[in-house]
Symmetry: C2
Subunit: 143 residues, 2 copies
């Protein structure tokens, strides 16, 4: 049974640390020139294949109108394309273009970026801790 104040302290610490790291990460993405959410959206499409805007919004925990704007930006850059849904005329299927696949591959290849460098300076045990933490975060968010 966890002490309530210990849990509250952890919540406090975690909130502060996660917030700072997220802010740092946001401003460390200069080389790709793509906002974090846009990159994450491409990542979702890469992992799951074509998805509808609604599904993407749910995945990234943003509201559908926000995803509409993300998709408009990505389509404008030629990174995704929208296609009519085969059975449901209301829905739309979004998929990656070849350019996006190249961008993702290139992004992964030359990811000598800030976070990777930092991570490689950690011990294997510390990296394992972070890997486990990321999984827990996803579970927390998924709720």
């Amino acid at each position: 049974m966890p002490s309530p104040t210990a849990t509250a302290d952890l919540a406090n610490q975690l909130r502060a640390s996660v917030t700072r790291l997220a802010r740092r990460l946001r401003y460390e993405r200069a080389d790709t020139a793509l906002p974090l959410t846009h990159l994450a959206t491409l990542g979702s499409l890469d992992r799951h294949g074509p998805l509808t805007p609604g599904e993407l919004a749910h995945h990234e925990r943003i509201q559908p109108p926000s995803m509409t704007r993300v998709l408009a930006a990505l389509e404008g850059r030629g990174l995704v394309s929208r296609h009519p849904h085969p059975t449901d005329g209301r829905q739309v299927l979004v998929e990656l273009t070849d350019a996006a696949h190249e961008l993702l591959a290139e992004d992964r290849r030359r990811r000598e970026a800030w976070l990777s460098t930092r991570l490689s300076e950690l011990s294997a045990a510390e990296r394992a801790t972070l890997r486990a933490a990321a999984e827990i975060f996803d579970r927390l968010v998924r709720g």
Copy 2:
């Protein structure tokens, strides 16, 4: 020796997870009515004692003008006070008011908020993982 692609994958995963959690946390702070950065700033002052705006900005990884705005808001709510620096006329010392100390204590006491609830549903081992991860995050950010 860590495999480079494994490190890049971890970087990817961590970036996505941290971003989503930070976004969720930001929109989960309704009860205190204080933005995350404001709360974190009060926390820094609580931990370190009086600091200058520049030091606070560095701590929270935001630019000085942004911190000026945070401090203006906090001062407007009677949570911090500004005092002249004893030896350097350009600088300012910011410190917590009694009201802020009360707010922090109260905040800690009644933190039945989303994150605490979620955390208390985890196992002790998982909480330990998160505690360790938070520490590593701070080290990553501190550089």
